[in-house]
Protein backbone atom coordinates (compact mmCIF):
# COMPACT_ATOMS: atom_id res chain seq x y z
CA UNK A 1 0.00 0.00 0.00
CA UNK A 2 1.33 3.44 -0.85
CA UNK A 3 1.10 6.74 0.95
CA UNK A 4 -1.74 7.79 -1.35
CA UNK A 5 -3.81 4.81 -0.37
CA UNK A 6 -2.79 5.38 3.22
CA UNK A 7 -4.33 8.84 3.20
CA UNK A 8 -7.62 7.45 1.91
CA UNK A 9 -7.57 4.84 4.64
CA UNK A 10 -6.83 7.47 7.22
CA UNK A 11 -9.75 9.61 6.12
CA UNK A 12 -12.06 6.65 6.43
CA UNK A 13 -10.75 5.30 9.66
CA UNK A 14 -10.06 8.45 11.63
CA UNK A 15 -13.77 8.97 12.09
CA UNK A 16 -13.80 5.77 14.11
CA UNK A 17 -11.17 7.04 16.50
CA UNK A 18 -12.54 10.44 17.37
CA UNK A 19 -15.09 10.94 20.06
CA UNK A 20 -18.34 12.83 20.13
CA UNK A 21 -18.24 16.37 18.82
CA UNK A 22 -16.22 18.74 20.92
CA UNK A 23 -18.27 21.03 23.14
CA UNK A 24 -17.32 24.60 23.92
CA UNK A 25 -14.69 25.06 26.58
CA UNK A 26 -16.27 25.79 29.95
CA UNK A 27 -14.78 28.84 31.73
CA UNK A 28 -13.64 28.74 35.35
CA UNK A 29 -14.32 31.36 37.97
CA UNK A 30 -11.36 33.09 39.68
CA UNK A 31 -10.67 32.78 43.42
CA UNK A 32 -11.65 36.45 43.78
CA UNK A 33 -15.14 35.58 42.60
CA UNK A 34 -15.62 33.77 45.91
CA UNK A 35 -14.41 36.59 48.16
CA UNK A 36 -18.00 37.54 48.98
CA UNK A 37 -18.47 34.31 50.92
CA UNK A 38 -17.77 35.35 54.50
CA UNK A 39 -17.53 31.91 56.06
CA UNK A 40 -14.05 30.57 55.26
CA UNK A 41 -15.01 26.90 55.28
CA UNK A 42 -17.95 27.60 53.02
CA UNK A 43 -15.67 29.63 50.71
CA UNK A 44 -13.20 26.75 50.65
CA UNK A 45 -15.90 24.26 49.75
CA UNK A 46 -17.14 26.54 46.99
CA UNK A 47 -13.63 26.89 45.59
CA UNK A 48 -13.32 23.12 45.44
CA UNK A 49 -16.69 22.75 43.76
CA UNK A 50 -15.45 25.16 41.07
CA UNK A 51 -12.20 23.21 40.71
CA UNK A 52 -14.36 20.11 40.54
CA UNK A 53 -15.48 21.14 37.07
CA UNK A 54 -11.98 20.13 36.02
CA UNK A 55 -11.64 17.11 38.30
CA UNK A 56 -14.92 15.66 37.09
CA UNK A 57 -14.29 16.35 33.41
CA UNK A 58 -13.66 13.37 31.13
CA UNK A 59 -10.11 14.61 30.56
CA UNK A 60 -9.26 13.84 34.20
CA UNK A 61 -11.72 11.06 34.96
CA UNK A 62 -10.71 8.86 32.03
CA UNK A 63 -7.26 8.33 33.52
CA UNK A 64 -8.45 7.88 37.12
CA UNK A 65 -10.35 4.59 36.53
CA UNK A 66 -11.65 2.52 39.42
CA UNK A 67 -10.85 -0.76 37.70
CA UNK A 68 -8.07 -2.14 35.57
CA UNK A 69 -9.16 -0.41 32.40
CA UNK A 70 -9.17 3.31 31.58
CA UNK A 71 -11.95 4.98 29.65
CA UNK A 72 -11.64 7.38 26.75
CA UNK A 73 -13.31 10.21 24.86
CA UNK A 74 -15.95 12.63 26.07
CA UNK A 75 -18.49 9.85 26.58
CA UNK A 76 -15.96 7.91 28.71
CA UNK A 77 -16.44 4.60 26.96
CA UNK A 78 -14.03 1.78 27.77
CA UNK A 79 -10.62 2.23 26.13
CA UNK A 80 -10.35 0.63 22.72
CA UNK A 81 -8.45 -1.55 22.21
CA UNK A 82 -8.58 -3.24 25.59
CA UNK A 83 -5.74 -2.06 27.78
CA UNK A 84 -5.09 -2.69 31.45
CA UNK A 85 -3.14 -0.70 34.01
CA UNK A 86 -0.59 -3.51 34.61
CA UNK A 87 1.83 -3.59 37.51
CA UNK A 88 3.06 -0.01 37.08
CA UNK A 89 -0.07 1.72 35.74
CA UNK A 90 1.59 1.98 32.33
CA UNK A 91 0.02 -1.05 30.70
CA UNK A 92 0.55 -4.78 30.38
CA UNK A 93 3.73 -6.39 29.13
CA UNK A 94 3.87 -5.97 25.34
CA UNK A 95 0.82 -3.69 25.44
CA UNK A 96 2.21 -0.62 27.12
CA UNK A 97 0.70 2.84 26.97
CA UNK A 98 3.68 3.78 24.81
CA UNK A 99 2.81 1.06 22.31
CA UNK A 100 0.43 3.64 20.86
CA UNK A 101 0.81 6.92 22.77
CA UNK A 102 3.73 9.19 21.94
CA UNK A 103 5.00 12.15 23.95
CA UNK A 104 2.70 14.46 21.99
CA UNK A 105 -0.67 14.22 20.27
CA UNK A 106 -0.43 12.60 16.84
CA UNK A 107 -3.04 14.52 14.89
CA UNK A 108 -3.04 12.48 11.65
CA UNK A 109 -4.44 9.48 13.53
CA UNK A 110 -6.19 11.33 16.35
CA UNK A 111 -4.13 9.47 18.96
CA UNK A 112 -3.45 11.60 22.04
CA UNK A 113 -0.06 11.72 23.68
CA UNK A 114 1.97 13.41 26.40
CA UNK A 115 5.12 12.65 28.37
CA UNK A 116 4.65 10.00 31.07
CA UNK A 117 1.32 8.79 29.67
CA UNK A 118 -0.21 6.44 32.28
CA UNK A 119 -3.27 5.96 34.45
CA UNK A 120 -3.50 7.03 38.06
CA UNK A 121 -2.88 4.25 40.63
CA UNK A 122 -6.03 2.42 41.66
CA UNK A 123 -6.02 4.00 45.14
CA UNK A 124 -6.46 7.33 43.34
CA UNK A 125 -9.51 6.12 41.41
CA UNK A 126 -12.07 8.89 40.92
CA UNK A 127 -14.63 7.29 38.65
CA UNK A 128 -17.90 6.56 40.39
CA UNK A 129 -17.18 8.86 43.33
CA UNK A 130 -18.86 12.09 44.36
CA UNK A 131 -16.88 15.31 44.37
CA UNK A 132 -16.91 15.28 48.18
CA UNK A 133 -15.47 11.77 48.22
CA UNK A 134 -12.78 12.76 45.74
CA UNK A 135 -11.94 15.80 47.87
CA UNK A 136 -11.37 13.66 50.97
CA UNK A 137 -9.37 11.20 48.88
CA UNK A 138 -7.11 13.96 47.55
CA UNK A 139 -6.20 14.93 51.12
CA UNK A 140 -5.67 11.34 52.30
CA UNK A 141 -1.97 10.45 52.28
CA UNK A 142 -2.89 6.77 51.86
CA UNK A 143 -4.77 7.53 48.68
CA UNK A 144 -2.92 10.48 47.16
CA UNK A 145 0.58 9.12 46.67
CA UNK A 146 1.68 10.48 50.08
CA UNK A 147 1.47 14.02 48.78
CA UNK A 148 1.23 17.04 51.01
CA UNK A 149 -1.31 19.67 50.02
CA UNK A 150 1.53 21.73 48.57
CA UNK A 151 2.51 18.75 46.44
CA UNK A 152 -1.11 18.25 45.42
CA UNK A 153 -1.17 21.85 44.25
CA UNK A 154 2.08 21.39 42.35
CA UNK A 155 0.73 18.26 40.65
CA UNK A 156 -2.48 19.93 39.58
CA UNK A 157 -0.94 23.25 38.59
CA UNK A 158 2.23 22.08 36.86
CA UNK A 159 2.23 18.38 35.96
CA UNK A 160 2.67 17.87 32.21
CA UNK A 161 0.23 14.98 31.97
CA UNK A 162 -2.39 16.91 33.93
CA UNK A 163 -1.71 19.83 31.60
CA UNK A 164 -2.53 17.69 28.57
CA UNK A 165 -6.15 17.92 29.73
CA UNK A 166 -6.30 21.48 28.38
CA UNK A 167 -4.62 20.53 25.09
CA UNK A 168 -6.14 17.17 24.27
CA UNK A 169 -6.16 17.53 20.50
CA UNK A 170 -8.64 16.05 18.10
CA UNK A 171 -12.28 16.60 18.94
CA UNK A 172 -11.84 16.01 22.65
CA UNK A 173 -13.32 18.75 24.82
CA UNK A 174 -10.56 20.44 26.83
CA UNK A 175 -10.85 20.60 30.61
CA UNK A 176 -12.61 23.78 31.78
CA UNK A 177 -10.61 27.00 32.04
CA UNK A 178 -6.83 26.75 31.98
CA UNK A 179 -4.32 24.82 34.06
CA UNK A 180 -3.17 28.09 35.60
CA UNK A 181 -6.72 29.01 36.64
CA UNK A 182 -7.23 25.51 37.99
CA UNK A 183 -4.01 25.82 39.98
CA UNK A 184 -5.14 29.16 41.39
CA UNK A 185 -8.41 27.62 42.54
CA UNK A 186 -6.62 24.71 44.21
CA UNK A 187 -4.17 27.11 45.89
CA UNK A 188 -7.06 29.21 47.21
CA UNK A 189 -8.87 26.08 48.38
CA UNK A 190 -5.78 25.01 50.37
CA UNK A 191 -5.28 28.51 51.78
CA UNK A 192 -8.86 28.54 53.05
CA UNK A 193 -8.50 25.26 54.90
CA UNK A 194 -9.06 22.67 52.17
CA UNK A 195 -12.64 22.05 53.22
CA UNK A 196 -14.58 19.43 51.35
CA UNK A 197 -18.15 19.35 50.02
CA UNK A 198 -20.46 16.80 51.59
CA UNK A 199 -19.70 13.26 50.36
Amino acid sequence: MTKGRFITGMLLSTSLAVSVSAAETVPLKKPADFSGIADQAERSRSLFVEAGKVIQSPRCQNCHPRGERPSQADDMHPHQPLVVRGLDDKGAIAMRCTTCHQTANFAPAGVPGAPKWHVAPVEMAWQGKSLGQICEQIKDLARNGKRTLAQIHDHMAHDELVGWGWHPGGERTPAPGTQQEFGELIAAWIQTGAACPAP
Partner: protein, 154 residues
Protein backbone atom coordinates in the same frame (compact mmCIF):
# COMPACT_ATOMS: atom_id res chain seq x y z
CA UNK B 1 10.86 17.13 4.03
CA UNK B 2 14.21 16.59 5.68
CA UNK B 3 16.90 13.98 6.00
CA UNK B 4 16.13 11.65 8.85
CA UNK B 5 18.51 9.04 10.22
CA UNK B 6 16.94 5.85 11.45
CA UNK B 7 18.31 2.47 12.52
CA UNK B 8 16.20 -0.43 11.27
CA UNK B 9 17.14 -4.06 11.81
CA UNK B 10 20.66 -3.05 12.73
CA UNK B 11 21.26 -0.96 9.63
CA UNK B 12 21.49 2.81 9.49
CA UNK B 13 19.24 4.48 6.92
CA UNK B 14 18.92 8.07 5.73
CA UNK B 15 15.45 8.89 4.45
CA UNK B 16 14.01 12.08 3.02
CA UNK B 17 10.70 12.42 4.85
CA UNK B 18 8.56 14.81 6.81
CA UNK B 19 9.09 14.16 10.52
CA UNK B 20 5.36 13.60 11.01
CA UNK B 21 5.34 10.74 8.50
CA UNK B 22 4.24 7.56 10.24
CA UNK B 23 7.14 5.16 10.71
CA UNK B 24 5.09 2.54 8.85
CA UNK B 25 5.36 4.43 5.54
CA UNK B 26 9.06 5.08 5.95
CA UNK B 27 9.58 1.34 6.49
CA UNK B 28 7.40 0.30 3.57
CA UNK B 29 7.87 3.03 0.97
CA UNK B 30 11.31 4.44 1.70
CA UNK B 31 13.21 1.44 3.04
CA UNK B 32 11.25 -1.25 1.23
CA UNK B 33 10.41 -3.46 4.19
CA UNK B 34 6.85 -4.49 3.41
CA UNK B 35 6.46 -7.20 6.05
CA UNK B 36 4.93 -4.58 8.37
CA UNK B 37 1.32 -4.12 7.31
CA UNK B 38 -1.15 -1.27 7.13
CA UNK B 39 -4.46 -2.17 8.73
CA UNK B 40 -6.36 0.73 10.21
CA UNK B 41 -3.98 3.68 10.50
CA UNK B 42 -5.26 4.60 13.96
CA UNK B 43 -3.62 2.06 16.31
CA UNK B 44 -6.70 -0.09 16.55
CA UNK B 45 -5.62 -3.30 14.82
CA UNK B 46 -1.92 -3.98 15.46
CA UNK B 47 -1.01 -5.06 11.92
CA UNK B 48 1.71 -2.40 11.84
CA UNK B 49 3.46 -3.51 15.05
CA UNK B 50 7.24 -3.21 15.15
CA UNK B 51 9.69 -3.11 18.03
CA UNK B 52 11.32 0.12 19.15
CA UNK B 53 14.17 -0.70 21.49
CA UNK B 54 12.53 -4.08 22.00
CA UNK B 55 9.06 -2.85 22.93
CA UNK B 56 6.08 -3.14 20.60
CA UNK B 57 5.03 0.07 18.87
CA UNK B 58 2.27 0.76 16.39
CA UNK B 59 4.21 2.17 13.50
CA UNK B 60 1.12 3.73 11.90
CA UNK B 61 0.86 6.27 14.74
CA UNK B 62 4.55 6.74 15.44
CA UNK B 63 5.96 9.82 13.70
CA UNK B 64 9.33 8.91 12.30
CA UNK B 65 10.92 11.93 13.96
CA UNK B 66 10.01 10.49 17.36
CA UNK B 67 12.29 7.48 16.86
CA UNK B 68 15.53 9.41 17.30
CA UNK B 69 18.42 7.10 18.19
CA UNK B 70 16.21 4.21 19.23
CA UNK B 71 16.50 0.98 17.30
CA UNK B 72 13.61 -0.26 15.17
CA UNK B 73 13.10 -3.97 14.50
CA UNK B 74 10.62 -5.21 11.92
CA UNK B 75 9.39 -8.70 11.20
CA UNK B 76 12.23 -9.03 8.67
CA UNK B 77 14.83 -8.40 11.36
CA UNK B 78 13.37 -10.57 14.10
CA UNK B 79 16.06 -13.14 14.82
CA UNK B 80 16.40 -13.66 18.56
CA UNK B 81 16.12 -17.13 20.06
CA UNK B 82 12.66 -16.20 21.29
CA UNK B 83 11.62 -14.97 17.87
CA UNK B 84 12.77 -18.18 16.23
CA UNK B 85 10.79 -20.21 18.77
CA UNK B 86 7.69 -18.15 18.08
CA UNK B 87 8.05 -18.53 14.33
CA UNK B 88 8.63 -22.28 14.66
CA UNK B 89 5.51 -22.64 16.80
CA UNK B 90 3.56 -20.56 14.29
CA UNK B 91 4.48 -22.95 11.52
CA UNK B 92 3.98 -26.11 13.54
CA UNK B 93 0.50 -25.06 14.67
CA UNK B 94 -0.34 -23.64 11.26
CA UNK B 95 -1.52 -20.46 12.96
CA UNK B 96 -1.94 -18.18 9.98
CA UNK B 97 -5.11 -18.24 7.90
CA UNK B 98 -5.10 -15.25 5.53
CA UNK B 99 -1.90 -14.13 7.22
CA UNK B 100 -2.31 -10.38 6.92
CA UNK B 101 -2.14 -9.66 10.66
CA UNK B 102 0.45 -12.30 11.48
CA UNK B 103 3.59 -10.18 11.36
CA UNK B 104 2.04 -7.89 13.94
CA UNK B 105 0.89 -10.83 16.03
CA UNK B 106 4.40 -12.33 15.98
CA UNK B 107 6.00 -9.02 16.94
CA UNK B 108 3.72 -8.72 19.98
CA UNK B 109 4.08 -12.39 20.91
CA UNK B 110 7.86 -12.21 20.76
CA UNK B 111 7.97 -9.08 22.91
CA UNK B 112 5.71 -10.76 25.44
CA UNK B 113 7.90 -13.86 25.71
CA UNK B 114 11.09 -11.81 25.90
CA UNK B 115 9.74 -10.18 29.04
CA UNK B 116 7.52 -12.93 30.40
CA UNK B 117 8.82 -16.41 29.53
CA UNK B 118 5.81 -18.18 31.05
CA UNK B 119 2.72 -16.11 30.29
CA UNK B 120 -0.74 -17.15 31.44
CA UNK B 121 -3.73 -17.03 29.13
CA UNK B 122 -4.61 -13.67 30.68
CA UNK B 123 -1.08 -12.34 30.10
CA UNK B 124 -1.38 -13.35 26.45
CA UNK B 125 -4.84 -11.84 26.10
CA UNK B 126 -3.67 -8.54 27.57
CA UNK B 127 -0.48 -8.40 25.52
CA UNK B 128 -2.20 -9.15 22.23
CA UNK B 129 -5.50 -7.39 22.83
CA UNK B 130 -4.47 -4.75 20.34
CA UNK B 131 -3.71 -7.24 17.56
CA UNK B 132 -6.87 -8.00 15.66
CA UNK B 133 -7.23 -11.11 13.49
CA UNK B 134 -10.23 -11.01 11.18
CA UNK B 135 -9.83 -14.76 10.57
CA UNK B 136 -10.18 -15.22 14.34
CA UNK B 137 -7.11 -17.40 14.77
CA UNK B 138 -6.88 -16.31 18.39
CA UNK B 139 -7.06 -19.83 19.81
CA UNK B 140 -4.13 -20.97 17.69
CA UNK B 141 -2.19 -17.79 18.44
CA UNK B 142 -2.54 -18.43 22.14
CA UNK B 143 -1.58 -22.09 21.73
CA UNK B 144 1.46 -21.16 19.68
CA UNK B 145 2.67 -18.72 22.32
CA UNK B 146 2.36 -21.44 24.96
CA UNK B 147 4.18 -23.85 22.65
CA UNK B 148 7.00 -21.37 22.09
CA UNK B 149 7.26 -20.80 25.83
CA UNK B 150 7.54 -24.55 26.42
CA UNK B 151 10.15 -24.87 23.70
CA UNK B 152 12.21 -22.05 25.17
CA UNK B 153 12.16 -23.51 28.66
CA UNK B 154 12.92 -27.11 27.55
Amino acid sequence: MSAISINVNGRAHQVDADGETPLLWVLRDDIGLTGTKFGCGVAQCGACTVHVDGDPARSCVTPVAAIGSRKVTTIEGLESRTAKAVQKAWVELDVAQCGYCQSGQIMSATALLEQNPHPSDTDIDHALAGNICRCATYVRIRAAIHAAASQLSA
